[in-house]
């Protein structure tokens, strides 16, 4: 097993609003190994974005990390003061966001915004920083970078802006890149390009990636490991192969049934999961998915199940997997047809 870049243990993050405590993340654990891409998948409100913001300690008032540990390079980030985080953010851990149009400052050039990170974290002088910035732009696939470096964000197209954002994030060669829905706001063809770019750069710069998305299709292609979140908790964790072909949790199965699959012989209909996500101000006792789960039992509403391990790395939290649970015919969503061998 290669070394872990980041190891999150039992993270709990809440927002203390005047309406009450919104428990966005209720005890999530995961780790990312060197060179790995971890995909965090879930609906809106599942807590996936707040989890990633917590890793960077970017959760601002009225939110705060309630409990847990975030071990990064041997140190617990939760215990670190804000000032100490400044040298980590942008340098050791970087983040790119969903909408490149609004995530770039409109009144400064792209060059300014890249060089800012470089000069701050790497101490290069202006000339050297500019050289490096041009190199980054070239690396992310922006043509004529020596001219475009002086352009403003509104002079770039959507895809190019996202490339620029990636350039900014990777300019200091971070150990970990967190990509929060990087392709959601882009056209489908551009989406593919950006994902290719990320994979390519991951190897070139030797970065590990946490990819956050609600789109299983994006995840299938890029991720080594996947964590499925719902209602502030992890429902299932495993490798991409395991999640897509051997899902153990009803929610995962539900997600798989609701997307079209090219790798299976399609014979059935797409089945959406009925219902809406739970209210995080008064989260349900027990399993958060029980209200929408077709197999839910009385126990599911009372207590949250423990994680059942299938092998090193593949686990799921479901009462059906308990040794005493009744045998239930479960539609995993995989057996729709036969599996196509790619």
């Amino acid at each position: 097993m290669s070394e872990k870049v980041v190891d999150v243990r039992n993270l709990k993050t809440s927002f203390y609003t005047h309406l009450g405590e919104v428990q966005a993340v209720r005890g999530v654990s995961f780790s990312v190994e060197k060179g790995e891409v971890l995909g965090i998948v879930g609906e809106s409100g599942s807590g996936k974005s707040v989890t990633s913001m917590s890793v960077m300690k970017l959760v601002s008032y009225p939110g705060e990390i309630k409990a847990g540990e975030i071990i990064f390079k041997g140190e617990d980030l939760v215990k670190k003061k804000d000032k100490e985080m400044l040298s980590i953010r942008g340098d050791k851990i970087s983040m790119i966001f969903q909408d490149p149009m609004t995530s770039l400052n409109p009144v400064y050039t792209i060059g300014d915004q890249i060089m800012e990170a470089i000069t701050r974290h790497q101490g290069l002088d202006k000339k050297a920083a500019r050289e490096k910035a041009i190199e980054m732009l070239r690396l992310v696939g922006i043509p004529s970078p020596e001219d475009r470096i002086d352009n403003y964000p509104h002079e770039f197209s959507g895809g190019m802006r996202q490339r620029a954002m990636i350039g900014i994030a990777l300019s200091c060669e971070p150990d970990l890149l967190i990509a929060d829905e990087p392709t959601t706001a882009l056209d489908v063809t551009i989406q593919a390009q950006i994902m290719e770019l990320l994979k390519d750069l991951k190897d070139k710069i030797d970065t590990s990636i946490i990819l956050i998305t609600h789109d299983l299709g994006v995840v299938a292609d890029t991720c080594d490991k996947i964590m499925v979140m719902y209602g502030g908790l992890a429902m299932e964790r495993g490798t991409a192969q395991e999640i897509f072909y051997d899902p153990k949790h009803p929610y995962t199965m539900g997600l798989l049934k609701s997307i079209p699959r090219m790798d299976l012989n399609e014979t059935g209909r797409l089945v959406p999961i009925p219902g809406t996500p739970p209210d995080l101000i008064s989260p349900p006792e027990g399993c958060p998915f029980s209200a929408r789960c077709p197999y839910s039992m009385k126990i599911c509403k009372i207590e949250m199940p423990e994680y059942t391990k299938f092998n090193e790395g593949h686990e799921a939290a479901c009462w059906l997997l308990h040794e005493d649970a009744p045998e239930v015919e479960v539609d995993t969503g995989v057996k729709r047809g036969e599996v196509n061998d790619k």
């Binding site: 009925p274 029980s290 209200a291 929408r292 789960c293 039992m297 009385k298 509403k301 308990h322 005493d324």
Partner: protein, 402 residues
């Protein structure tokens, strides 16, 4: 994996009534119902609205609060304050010493009975600085020669005047509210309450009519410009741009000089100049609305341009239009006050809050109450409209529905 024994009945399946979880839990409201609901919740806006309503009621029915008419003058009672420090003379009668050193007989409750005439000579301040009066058989003496005496000796006077009743010095016992003139009087002896009330009708009328003129000219100019688009829109907006670069007030002043001052010319001038603001807003709304699909739908059903503008575009743009109108009224009140200060207000004996304020400036040192009432009226009205307008803006923004 825990080894806790779980009782068998807990393994029973639960029927998920998934269809229930997506039930729409609120009944749907129309845009206007939703906006009104939101407006009601905004306490500040409702406060503003209530005050505005009160002011309107005051303007319409306030004349019953006072016995006086806005233009009747009682010169003897000029420049009386709303609250008086009185000196006791008899059981039920007091006197009040006016700033101009005349004496007024005041009843217990604070009613002005009459201005007393001295028994010993003229009212000429220069000649007679010691006056004697007779009240129900008592002798009242007012001596205000101190300041002149001190001046001639080059020192400060210790007091302004002395009042003696039957030879004994009296001090002021209390402050009473002026029950005859609740807000005091102006320099021609006119009741300020009646004048402020009248001023309310004038100022509000001006604001209302000006706003209506702006509405009709501005909305249709803007709607036509926005809907036509292209070069027609360009030219029309160019005109608006050129007109609005300069402080619009300058145009109003010029117009007033040409048209002469008077109630109707003020209303006209304000309306004919400020419509450009509404025109711009409406044009913006129409531009964004006309690209929307319901307009295309109307067109494919064969609706004429006029019908599209008046039945589809204007009602949908109504939100920002209403907000702008609500904000135009305070602006018109301000401008009218301003014009009065320059001498372009309504002619006497009519009064608007602006002319009342203008008249009161010269007496600011001696009789500050005369300026206070119209200023308060203006500020209160403008503030209330501002709160209400802000609330309206928040309520009518469909994106904010919670």
């Amino acid at each position: 994996m825990d080894n806790k024994k779980i009782s068998p009945e807990l393994w029973e399946k639960v029927e998920t009534k998934a269809s229930q979880t997506e039930k729409i839990t609120r009944k749907s409201l129309t845009y206007w119902q939703d906006a009104w609901r939101r407006l009601k919740k905004n306490k500040l806006a409702m406060l503003g609205l209530s005050i505005v309503v009160l002011i309107i009621l005051f303007a319409l029915f306030g004349q019953h609060l006072t016995d006086w008419d806005y233009s009747s003058q009682t010169l003897k009672n000029a420049n009386l304050p709303p609250s008086m420090d009185v000196y006791p003379v008899t059981e039920d009668k007091n006197v009040f010493v006016h700033r101009e050193y005349t004496l007024f007989l005041v009843s217990e409750e604070g009613e002005i009975i009459e201005r007393l005439e001295p028994t010993n000579g003229t009212l000429d301040i220069m000649q007679n600085k010691r006056r004697v009066y007779e009240v129900d058989g008592n002798e009242v003496e007012l001596d205000f020669s101190f300041i002149a005496a001190a001046k001639s000796e080059g020192r400060e006077a210790e007091k302004a005047f002395e009042l003696k009743v039957n030879g004994a010095l009296v001090e002021t016992t209390e402050s009473v509210w002026n029950k005859t003139y609740l807000l005091g009087t102006d320099d021609l002896g006119r009741d300020l309450l009646a004048r402020v009330r009248f001023g309310a009708t004038i100022s509000l009328q001006i604001a209302l009519v000006a706003t209506l003129v702006q509405f009709f000219v501005g909305v249709f100019y803007g709607a036509i410009s926005g809907y036509a688009g292209g070069s027609v829109d360009n030219v029309m907006m160019r005109i608006v741009d050129i007109v609005s670069t300069i402080p619009l007030l300058l145009y109003v002043i010029l117009l007033m000089v040409v048209l002469g001052s008077g109630l109707s010319t003020i209303m006209l001038a304000l309306g004919l100049v400020y419509w450009v603001r509404i025109a711009r807003i409406v044009r913006g709304e129409v531009l964004s609305l006309k690209e929307q699909e319901f307009v295309m739908a109307a067109k494919t059903l064969g609706a004429s341009t006029w019908r599209i503008i008046s039945r589809h575009l204007v009602p949908n743009a109504l939100g920002p239009i209403i907000v702008s109108l609500a904000m135009t009224i305070p602006s018109a009140i301000f401008t009218e006050a301003f014009l009065s200060f320059i001498g372009l207000g309504v002619p006497a004996p009519m009064a608007s809050w602006g002319t009342l304020a203008n008249d009161a400036v010269k007496a600011l040192r001696s009789y500050p109450h005369q300026l206070m009432w119209p200023s308060l009226a203006i500020s209160l009205t403008v503030l209330s409209f501002n709160f209400f307008g802000d609330g309206l803006r928040n309520a009518l923004d469909p994106k904010l529905r919670r």
